[in-house]
């Protein structure tokens, strides 16, 4: 989280910890994050593993979680669950993007479409995805179907609404500049509206990554026989909380990794959004 904070505006006094953090190089920031993680793990290990202030069945220490991870890998339990989850995640995410990007572009272009689709989109977006979970089971059975559905419906709206907002908030001054030089409608879309929507698209994709993962786990938590969510439930039910935590850590790693991947692709596709002169 500290990386998010460091990139924000520094509203505090100049000098002090804030200024020091803001002035750090990327390597320095990674160093701070590494120290933060190590300190947290050590405290965790001490509190649970060494002093035994908390029953390790409820909160296993980091070393036990690592052992749980090794057990998951060596017993061969992890791979089938992980693969089915990632498969559902990827299919759902692609379905969401393929629907959301064109509909979002249309919403941002046409006021009538925005007025019709907008309220529906916001309503579905505002509904907690967990509410769809029992329905998804009824509609799509017990296989990968309901998971794909929940991933897709969770990822769809952040992409769609961001793309629509990007189109609508295109700087009117740049549009005027295009018109002054005689840009046709097609040229305006290609050279002005679409590029100015790109940063919004990536912001939407980043949100969608996190929400898709939530949707995936929610779908798998009950009634699923396979998948990471099912693995967490099974581990907890057999008091192997270390394995449950290992499974959660893997899901988090996937989510953070995919969000990072989106950022990397954005830097490559849209180099102008890079901050600073580096």
């Amino acid at each position: 989280m500290s990386t998010f904070l460091a990139s924000g505006p520094n509203l505090g006094r100049s000098g002090g910890v804030g200024a020091w953090l803001a002035g750090l190089s990327p390597a320095g920031k990674a160093g701070v994050l590494a120290v933060e993680v190590v300190v947290m793990l050590v405290v965790w290990q001490l509190v649970v593993g060494v002093f035994g202030w908390i029953n390790p069945v409820f909160l296993p220490p980091p070393t036990a979680i690592w052992q749980g991870f090794v057990e998951l890998v060596s017993s061969g339990v992890l791979w089938p669950n992980l693969l089915i989850s990632l498969q559902a995640w990827l299919i759902g995410f692609v379905v969401a993007a393929v629907i959301a990007i064109p509909v979002g572009l249309l919403m941002g272009t046409s006021l009538p479409v925005d007025r019709v689709v907008g309220p529906i989109a916001w309503t579905i977006y505002a509904t907690p995805s967990i509410a769809y979970q029992p329905l998804a089971k009824a509609w799509f059975g017990f296989g990968i179907g309901p998971v794909v559905f929940l991933v897709a419906i969770s990822a769809l709206f952040p992409i769609l609404l961001n793309v629509a907002a990007g189109m609508r908030t295109t700087n009117p001054s740049i549009i005027r500049a295009g018109r002054v030089y005689g840009a046709s409608r097609t040229q305006l879309y290609r050279s002005v509206y679409l590029p100015s929507t790109v940063p919004f698209l990536f912001a939407g994709l980043r949100q969608a990554v996190v929400l898709a993962t939530i949707g995936m786990v929610v779908a798998e938590l009950s009634g699923s026989a396979i998948g990471m969510g099912a693995l967490i439930i099974k581990s907890v039910n057999t008091y192997q909380t270390d394995q449950a935590f290992a499974a959660i850590a893997i899901i988090v790693a996937w989510s953070v990794g995919m969000a990072q991947l989106v950022t990397l692709v954005e830097r490559w596709v849209a180099p102008w959004t890079r901050t600073g002169r580096r």
Binding site: N171, R176, A177, V180, Y181, G182, A270, W272
Partner: protein
């Protein structure tokens, strides 16, 4: 007190004016109040080829609306605007605009921003255009910054890009909407003198909107003073100062001081009237 003057560069035989505005009015419907807002009313103005006309007025006097009509971005409610004898029905390659907020495309490098106008006009044929773009970049003093993005440049440098983009399109008329309004005071003076030199060198016809009295006097062959509520021409004054002019060379010139006092009083009255009517 509207004085029409002979064009500076064609004193032998007075040709038809390049821009001819007759009885121009623009009104807007204000949706919120249901009233009609008169932006400008009854504007008459002739601008001859090679003339530098500054348009001076308080905020909200309709001077930008006036420029937008000449640019072809806003349709007149009544009256006519002729450019080179033909009525203005929209933007055209004979006119280019320099915007107060630069209106650069943040996703394009300096080079690609400068070529934007040519690209929209579908003038990127053959190889010659690359040299023209490069020449324009060098002309505004941005050599070496071709592959920088706008966000990496200062405000003054961004406006240089805006100038190069306008010049490279080789318009007959340059419309400048407070081009130095968002630039810091020191850079403003430097760029004002540079714009003056560029215009004297290229012989373009210029409509230059400003609310700076010094800018209006130092740059203009004639100064068109606007009044507000409704926006209309209050008076047209010939500056009659020798070129080249600079702040230092004219600051003790009695003509400059007389103009400055006169315009100061005219604007002061307008500003007070505007404040009272609100």
């Amino acid at each position: 007190m509207t004085t029409t003057t002979e064009p500076r560069h064609h004193e032998a035989s007075p040709p038809a004016p390049l821009i001819s505005v007759r009885d121009l009015s623009v009104t807007y419907d204000v949706a919120r109040t249901g009233k009609r807002l008169i932006a400008i009313e009854g504007v008459d103005l002739d601008v001859h080829e090679g003339e530098f006309v500054t348009v001076l007025g308080p905020s909200g006097c309709g001077k930008t609306t006036f420029m937008n009509v000449v640019a072809g971005l806003v349709k007149p409610t009544t009256g006519t605007v002729l450019v080179d004898g033909s009525p203005v029905t929209g933007p055209g390659p004979d006119r280019a605009v320099v915007f107060q907020d630069y209106a650069l495309l943040p996703w394009r490098t300096v080079f690609d921003n400068v070529k934007f106008g040519l690209e929209m006009q579908k003038a990127l044929k053959g190889e010659g255009w690359r040299d023209r773009v490069q020449e324009a970049i060098e002309m505004v003093g941005l050599a070496g910054f071709e592959s920088s993005y706008p966000r990496e440049l200062s405000g003054g440098m961004q406006q240089r890009v805006g100038l190069a983009r306008a010049f490279v399109a080789e318009p007959r008329i340059l419309l400048m909407d407070e081009p130095l309004g968002a630039v810091d005071a020191l850079t403003r003076e430097v760029m004002r003198d540079e714009i003056d030199k560029l215009i004297q060198k290229t012989g373009k016809t210029v409509l230059f909107i400003t609310h700076s009295i010094e800018e209006a006097i130092l740059l203009g062959d004639r100064i068109v003073v606007f009044k507000s509520h409704p926006g209309a021409i209050k008076e047209v004054i010939e500056t009659g100062l020798e070129r080249p002019r600079s702040e230092r060379s004219v600051q003790h010139d009695p003509r400059f001081l007389e103009l400055r006092d006169h315009l100061w009083e005219a604007l002061q009255g307008e500003a007070t009237a505007a404040a009272v009517s609100k």
